[in-house]
Subunit: 154 residues, 2 copies
């Protein structure tokens, strides 16, 4: 079954190249059924976050009308990058299967190794300069959140 | 100037709470002008990727009609999570400023520490089980990409 869905993700990735997208595809499966699927649409949509996994997660949430995917499985043609890993944790997917890995992707010109290297660094040591500044009311959004009565925790 | 834009991001985060969103806000600034802004819309949009930074990056790309933001600066009410860090690197932002940090966010119930801990692990050792499977045609999407003549590298 896992091989079957991964082959579908790979076929989708290949078809996506012909359709103006990048060579990546992902499916979200629930109870053995594909509920959402997408290729990488970064250049097609002018959206650097439109990786196949992110697109499939967003579409699956719309199908289920939920912001979590706790009983769903992600099948991706390639190992998810750190951005997509973040989305996988935030969406609380149950499991992930992938075909080729980050080293295969790097050989094909899609190298996310530098992002793996950057994330553990302190913000001030990263290649994109990141500065934490002291602002007097920095915590006020959290105070507003704490004081809000009727809210959806996430 | 940085304090001015961070205060705007914080005010946006607070307003976003009253508007059914999470306590986070982000702006994208180019040549000293705000070109896009958003609060966190995860629960409002049923989209686990709808963090303020991701939403602002996506909106800025639409404004500029580009999938990269090389001459733009991100101002966020809070230190970006690993997912948003990934998006920051993919969009090639020039610089990032934030007000409160990940530890302030954790104290308010928004803890991304577990994602920082998970990303460096080998896929098979992560809390969400991740399996790389050998599939015969796993590299065929990259071959299709390589053979494609007229394409937009990204």
């Amino acid at each position: 079954m896992h091989t079957f869905f991964l082959s579908q993700a790979i076929a989708l990735a290949t078809a996506n190249v012909a359709d103006g997208g990048g060579p990546f595809g992902a499916l979200i499966v629930r109870d053995g059924k594909v509920i959402a699927a997408s290729g990488n649409r970064v250049t097609a949509r002018l959206d650097p976050t439109a990786h196949a996994e992110i697109m499939a997660i967003r579409a699956a949430c719309q199908v289920l009308q939920d912001f979590q995917l706790t009983d769903c499985v992600l099948y991706s043609s390639c190992e998810p990058c750190p951005m997509c890993l973040g989305a996988i944790y935030w969406s609380r997917l149950r499991e992930v299967y992938f075909a080729c890995n980050r080293f295969d992707a790097a050989k094909a010109g899609f190298d996310d190794g530098f992002i793996y290297d950057e994330i553990p660094l302190a913000p001030e040591h990263r290649k994109i300069a990141m500065h934490g500044l002291n602002i007097a009311d920095a915590l006020s959004p959290f105070q507003a959140w704490y004081q809000l009565g009727d809210k959806t925790p996430y």
